[in-house]
């Protein structure tokens, strides 16, 4: 410090933190540095704070490096927000065009939102809307009852061009009540419906996946319909129902276990 400089203002606690956080201007930084050179205890504390700051940054860095899950894809969310209630795809597409977001192909090429093109996020929505239309129907939820299981399985398998099976959830308290073929934006899908002793229904929807053919389980929730969706060896599965997600989770795990065993 040269003699013609006025005495620097005293070093306060907040200066030490600002030093740690690199938000002092150069002059003040030098003053703090000078202070630390003469006060080993404060210097030790500042070193501790800096190590702590660095430690937290490294400990949490990997979270920000993870790929963002498809349900947090902002483009997607903006498009969906403009599609009221049940998925009005024509409208969503029109909105996306209006927003200048380009076609689905463009999204995929940019790698921003492959799921918009039929990945598991799309399957999750399709399963939710199928559930809302069919499984929630009090009178006629299924097209073929449990007595026609073999017939339904062979019909669905032939339309999906993949062998599928009806998981047995009786150990979990759910009885198979039948199913149907449903239509999705990405082709036909099989839907198998179950209920428990209270009449609570859940459904499993299955269809082939053109992309995202093997993914971990993803949780979803839309209105009062929750579910879990995943893909394995080219088939996508979604287990949906009005149960709470934490009650559905073990059921989805069980379906995944059984379907994996079949494959």
């Amino acid at each position: 410090m040269s003699a013609d400089n006025p005495t620097p203002p005293p070093i306060l606690e907040e200066d030490l933190h600002a030093y740690v956080d690199n938000c002092l201007d150069a002059a003040r930084r030098r003053e703090v540095q000078d202070y630390l050179d003469h006060h080993p205890e404060a210097a030790a504390q500042v070193a501790g704070f800096s190590a702590q700051r660095q430690g937290l940054r490294s400990a949490l860095a990997s979270i920000a490096d993870e790929p963002v899950p498809s349900r947090l894809n902002l483009q997607h969310m903006i498009a969906e927000r403009h599609a009221p209630r049940q998925w009005h795809w024509g409208m969503a597409a029109a909105v996306m065009l209006a927003l200048g977001l380009g076609g689905f192909g463009g999204w995929s090429v940019r790698g921003m939102s492959p799921d918009a093109n039929g990945g598991i996020a799309a399957l999750a929505r399709e399963a939710t809307s199928s559930y809302a239309v069919y499984a929630a129907d009090p009178l006629r939820p299924v097209e073929m009852g449990p007595e026609r299981q073999t017939e339904l399985v062979s019909w669905v398998s032939s339309r999906l061009q993949r062998p599928v099976a009806v998981p047995d959830l009786s150990q979990s308290g759910y009885r198979y009540i039948g199913g149907r073929l449903v239509s999705t934006e990405h082709g036909p899908a099989g839907m198998f419906i179950y209920d428990d002793a209270n009449g609570t229904r859940l459904a499993m929807v299955v269809r082939p996946m053109a992309i995202e053919r093997d993914t971990p389980m993803m949780k979803q929730s839309e209105g009062n319909i929750a579910g879990f969706t995943w893909a394995a060896r080219g088939l996508g599965y979604s287990v949906v129902g009005t149960e709470r997600a934490d009650a559905l989770h073990p059921l989805a795990d069980e379906v995944r276990r059984q379907t994996a065993a079949i494959l």
Partner: protein, 187 residues
Amino acid sequence: MASNTSGDMKDLLAHVEPMVPALRRYARALLRDRDLADDLVQDCLERVIKRWEQRRQDGDTRQWVFAIAHNLAMDFLRQQKRRGLHLAIEDVEEKEMVTPAPQEAHLRHHELLRFLERLPEEQRSVILLVSVEDLSYAEAAKVLGIPIGTVMSRLARGREKLLRAMEGEPVQQKPVPDSPPVLRRLK
């Protein structure tokens, strides 16, 4: 009109999409659960989309978005407390918080996060916003809706407490006799 909306939404994408990884990190550090944190971020983004056109044009977007996320997290934590639920309900493993690093660093990180978790919530958010998310003190003050002096004192108290806790934790050497028992880890 359509072009207005389109411009707004492009604007939204350009500003907010780059923040999503940081929002996930902040939410997960506060809630300590991947799914709950992502639920929260989803909720936050939905609000951002809904309110985008009404936001203050002169305000800082990052600060505004973080404030929405922070308030949602606080609501959530208050609810949990009221219901007496513990956050980490199912299969929340440490690997969901951090990617395994070399053993010792990994242990150290794990401890740091564990001690961070035990700080009062108000100190934890300040530390995270400033140390990890790189918000300035003024920005953190706006996000938290508190004066900047309060930010400084919470930051100082929180860092000191965390430092004492870490020093009291023998990682490989020197057992410290006087560390507060509540912060001790039983292995």
